[in-house]
């Protein structure tokens, strides 16, 4: 075929394909997908594949949080995420002897029925200048942090200010999750006690230092089964951001404070005090206070706090890579083998057919599982493509052979043979061109199958966890009991993404079929 002819036939094909509405729609969607796949590192963050499995990166996100827009459909509003960076805060530095005291203040407006889930504080670095005269190494003394929260005024509350943290040592740069810090809960229970929300068997003597009083309080709580039960099941954030009195100003019983929390809406003034020991300076450049929401972003999060939307975006890459490479390889290999087999006939045909049947005999998914176990249990992308091609070419071969056999029995092949055409000429000039429409359409139509196989293997947990794939997201959802717990945002989007990508290729494939296969077009 000459270049001009080729160009001409491509032009003719395109002018016909243009009129296929569904095909053009599929093509447009495919282009959008490719753009999204390429732009994934720009839209989000190029480090995401590396961070996907390590929980550290996602620690400030809420776990199993529904999408933020769920609030529009429900009566109880849940707090979304809110980040306070250092430039949102007022900071003052003061010297107190050889100690440095940093004070950071900001105000959080809580206007939701269900308050944030957690407050996470990250990004404090301390640098210490060790004096040269001191040779013996001493571990640097840690920074000490205290947090005071001024709650919005509430009728009947004696102490409006809550001390959340008192001289808490900050080590390293790890994130401080207040909901999971025992001291926070202890101090909140102390505050509840001071406001008269519950009585202790023995009253706390008022003359003691705070630390001793809290220790005594916790000791007494542990001794009392009912109180300790409340202590165990309490959510610190619900106490901090919740009402503790009724409308008349009477203090609510402990049970309704903890189990039937009503959010106390209004401004919460946070004062964070950091005390640095001598020769130590604290660096707040990356300082962040995150109000971890009960809802998150566009599509919520999974059990590790990873945003579903980010996973979906990165999953496009693997889906497209696997789908297209597997489909193209299987169909091309399949057709070549099938046509060769049909045309050669005799012993060669028998042999190729027996090999094909042998491969078909092996059960696909069980063998895929077995092979991935042989390859170390967690297979990577290229191994996956290899296995899927190895077990995928036979169907096309069978169809291509039977089509080629039918074509071979046609009279015009007989005529060509009678005219003295050779094997190669008949195969490539008369048989393969007849199969090309089938091949192109079949490549597009095989993509969904390949993506489904990948999703299935990933769902069974057999693919490399460093790949971000929709199948793995569904595997995650299944192990998290997402269906039973009703976490729909973990189940619906990945499957829908698989279905949409599949549909795109089916639309393209069917349109190709209609354009290239005139027999169907007449219909």
């Amino acid at each position: 075929m000459r270049w001009v002819d080729f160009k001409d036939s491509v032009k003719r094909f395109w002018s016909e394909y243009k009129h296929q509405k569904s095909g053009m729609f599929g093509l447009a969607l495919l282009i959008i997908l490719v753009i999204l796949a390429v732009a994934a590192p720009i839209i989000t963050n190029p480090n995401i594949p590396k961070e996907w499995q390590t929980g550290q990166y996602w620690v400030t996100n809420p776990k199993n949080a529904p999408p933020s827009w769920e609030n529009y459909f429900t009566k109880t509003t849940k707090a979304p995420e809110k980040v306070f960076k250092i430039n949102n805060m007022h900071i003052t530095t003061k010297k107190n002897g050889s100690y440095t005291v940093y004070t950071l203040t900001f105000t959080y407006y809580m206007k939701y029925n269900v308050p944030p889930k957690d407050i996470v504080i990250t990004g404090i670095n301390s640098t210490s200048q060790t004096s040269s005269s001191n040779n013996s190494y001493q571990p640097p003394k840690p920074l000490k942090m205290s947090i005071l929260v001024q709650r919005p005024p509430e009728k009947g509350v004696k102490y409006n200010d809550v001390l959340l943290l008192s001289n808490y040592p900050i080590t390293g740069s790890a994130a401080l999750q207040l909901s999971y810090t025992p001291q926070v809960k202890n101090l909140l229970f102390y505050w509840l006690y001071e406001n008269g929300a519950y009585k202790l068997p023995m009253q706390l003597p008022s003359a003691l230092p705070l630390e001793t009083k809290v220790n005594q309080l916790v000791f007494q709580l542990q001794m009392n089964n009912t109180l300790y039960g409340y202590y165990q099941s309490a959510d610190p954030m619900k106490i901090l951001f919740g009402r503790i009195t009724d409308n008349k100003g009477n203090v609510l019983p402990l049970q309704s404070i903890i189990y039937n929390t009503q959010g106390l809406k209004g401004p919460y003034k946070f004062t964070i005090t950091v005390v640095a020991p001598p020769n130590v300076t604290a660096n707040f450049n990356n300082f962040e206070v995150v109000m971890v929401g009960r809802t998150y972003g566009l599509l919520g999060t999974d059990q590790m706090g990873r945003p579903i939307a980010v996973g979906l975006l990165w999953g496009i890459r693997v889906a497209l890579a696997i789908g297209i490479s597997v489909a193209a390889s299987t169909v091309i290999i399949g057709i070549l083998i099938g046509v060769t087999s049909a045309y050669l006939g005799g012993w060669a045909d028998e042999f190729i057919q027996r090999v094909t049947e042998f491969m078909m005999t092996l059960p696909v998914l069980p063998m895929l599982i077995l092979l991935s176990l042989y390859l170390g249990g967690r297979i990577n992308l290229s191994q996956l493509v290899g296995i899927l091609v190895l077990f995928g070419w036979m169907g096309t071969t069978k169809v291509a052979r039977s089509m080629a056999l039918q074509i071979k029995e046609q009279t015009y092949i007989e005529a060509a043979r009678a005219l003295g055409a050779g094997t190669g000429r008949i195969v490539f000039k008369h048989i393969v061109p007849q199969l090309l429409p089938y091949a192109f359409a079949n490549i597009a139509l095989s993509v969904p199958g390949a993506i489904l196989s990948e999703a299935g293997l990933s769902f069974l947990g057999l693919t490399n966890p460093n790949l971000i794939t929709w199948g793995q997201m569904l595997n995650n959802a299944q192990s998290n009991g997402a269906t039973i717990n009703g976490y729909w945002w973990q189940v619906i989007p990945p499957g829908l993404a698989i279905a949409i990508v599949g549909l795109i290729f089916v639309l393209i494939g069917v349109s190709l079929d209609t354009v290239l296969n005139p027999r169907l077009k007449r219909a």
Binding site: G345, G346, D349, R354, E357, F358, M360, T361, L362, P363, L365, P366, M367, I369, L370, L373, Y374, L405, K408, E409, P448, I451, L452, A455, G456, F459, L460, L474, A477, Q478, A482, T483, I484, N485, G486, W488, V491, I492, P494, G495, I498, A499, I500, V501, G502, L503, F505, V506, L507, V510, R519, L520, R522, A523
Partner: protein
């Protein structure tokens, strides 16, 4: 020289037997290797335990010779002293002759592999074969109907539905079904799908409802569409035009002429689908906690029950070979051109 039909069948069957044998040989080789690793660690731990017990009773560690002797004894017990190929061969023969023996861990509550498969197969037939029959009937009815009037509303609906459902993961649709009917609507109790075993026919039928709905929903569109395409292809053949020109009623043209001519591929599809349904579906059965063949394989895999896995793989391979032979024979019977073509070459 035309080959007789009986000879054609015999030829096919012998071919199939050879293929099946080779497939089992390959699988035995793989599984024997897996079993070797598993049994060697088993022997190691047994030897260690024996040394500990010996030290406690005799107040001194056993001599290296004694340990070696005990290890040899255990190796012989598990048949590990024989060479790899001999064990593979024995395993192949045992598997082919249905001597499946017992699996080391208990799967589905029993060590007997045959019992495990019997239980699983019954459950899989109940679910998947039932669904497959519904799908075939629906597919034939809708496919033929839409082939009569290509481009009609029904035809376009089926095409769109087929396109959409072929790209849906069946097990994901299953998860959605549970989410919708169990969690949000609460029509079925959650325990039906959180537990594997349910008792009583009513509960089993209830548990079946969602998987059957899922399987039919995902598959019937594709079936209708394929049958539509086969029918449309046939309807454009010259003999249909001749029949119409002769004045044969349209109904007879479709069911008498076209469907008969389109039968070979459709019958092949039905055979493959029916026999294929016996294999169950691993992931769908995991999602619905349905104790069928797929789930048996998955559980055997988790528990490292090598003999169960091997027997299941043999079953799967056997079913595939069997349906291939059946399809070939029927194809040869229904479409004499194929048989003649095959005979002419030989």
């Amino acid at each position: 020289m035309a080959m007789g039909f009986g000879k054609y069948v015999a030829y096919r069957i012998i071919n199939a037997a050879i293929i099946l044998f080779l497939a089992v040989l390959l699988m035995s080789a793989l599984f024997t290797k897996l079993a070797t690793i598993q049994l060697t660690t088993q022997v190691d731990s047994e030897v260690q335990q024996w040394v500990r017990g010996y030290t406690q009773t005799h107040h001194q560690a056993p001599s290296p010779q004694l340990i070696e002797q005990y290890r040899k004894e255990r190796m012989h017990y598990y048949g590990l002293d024989k060479p790899y190929w001999e064990r593979t061969w024995m395993y192949t023969v045992d598997t082919l002759l249905f001597k499946w023996g017992n699996s080391i861990p208990a799967v589905f509550g029993t060590h007997n592999v045959k019992d495990q498969i019997k239980t699983a197969l019954a459950r899989t037939i109940l679910l998947f074969t039932t669904s497959q029959i519904i799908i075939i009937l629906l597919g034939l009815a809708l496919g033929v109907k839409s082939a009569q009037k290509p481009g009609s509303l029904l035809d376009r609906t089926i095409s769109i539905l087929a396109m959409f459902t072929t790209s849906l993961p069946m097990w994901w649709v299953g998860m959605l079904m549970i989410l919708l009917f169990v969690v949000y609507l609460g029509w079925l109790p959650i325990t039906l799908y959180s537990q594997v075993q349910v008792s009583g026919w009513v509960n089993i039928l209830k548990k079946m409802s969602l998987p059957v709905l899922t399987i039919v929903l995902v598959s019937f569109g594709g079936w209708s569409w394929i049958i539509r395409n086969i029918m449309i292809g046939t309807m454009q053949e010259d003999f249909i035009m001749v029949a119409r020109a002769k004045g044969v009623p349209e109904r007879k043209v479709i069911y008498g002429h076209a469907l008969k001519a389109a039968a070979p591929p459709i019958v092949t599809m039905i055979i493959f689908a029916m026999i294929g349904s016996l294999g169950g579906a691993i992931i769908t059965e995991i999602v619905f906690n349905w104790p069928g063949m797929g789930r048996l394989y998955w559980e055997a895999l988790q528990l490292n029950a090598v003999r169960t896995m091997m027997a299941l793989n043999y079953m799967f391979a056997f079913m595939t070979v069997f349906s291939m032979v059946l399809a070939d024979i029927l194809y040869g019977y229904l479409d004499p051109r194929v048989r003649v073509g095959a005979a002419a070459r030989s």
